[in-house]
Symmetry: C2
Subunit: 145 residues, 2 copies
Amino acid sequence: MSQERVDHLLTSHRHEMPGRLVELDVDECWELLRRTPVGRLAWNGAAGPTVVPVNYVATSDGIVVKTTAYSAAVRETDDSPITFQVDHIDPETRTGWSVLAHGRLDVDWSFGRVDAPEVDVWPAGPRPLRLQLEISTISGRRLTD
Amino acid sequence: MSQERVDHLLTSHRHEMPGRLVELDVDECWELLRRTPVGRLAWNGAAGPTVVPVNYVATSDGIVVKTTAYSAAVRETDDSPITFQVDHIDPETRTGWSVLAHGRLDVDWSFGRVDAPEVDVWPAGPRPLRLQLEISTISGRRLTD
């Protein structure tokens, strides 16, 4: 990643951060992405974005989720920009962090015949289709005490 | 709200819910929305949806957030569809719930001269601008043990 791109990631949301909201660097964003079990897949729909919690695993350049072949995520996201969001919020201390990643979603139509990391999916039922999100930009913020 | 509309809300995401994922009814969605301190405002951007955690208060027909006058939420959401999402996820029990609301965002340019519920904003710094989201549709799901 170019320094210019990193600089852009680090400053693009800075205007929204008065007080104790601080930017996370890209490495911190990836670290948080890697250790969180549930994130939110978001895509543009006619009524506005759809935001759906999903289990996932992080790869070297993105994330992998599993879904049903007839899910809205497959039907509505064909070749469209996708966002993946993770956060942790602690109402007791009023602290937290959030990470936002943009990229594109590829549907793996091989139905498991191609090697890929296994996703530990909490809801029951078959989810044969693997979606791979290659992340092009990632940024994050932390709200400190 | 018409029964037809309620029925639509209750069935629109049903195809995504194998196993222990169950639909929440509209009253349950509002109840969860009312008792959660932080939600996620999401709007369509060029790079995909932007999803940002915010403090809010629920009103009779929507939610109110406060922001800076120069925030991305104000600059990028003029008269465009908006999503508000809340969830709670428990990695220990692998359970949780999520609520998704769609509507339109109105910017209150009176800067506090119009009466409105106060929002308890965790980050420091002035947030003089009030955004009111009138919710047109709301739906939710619960992942049981």
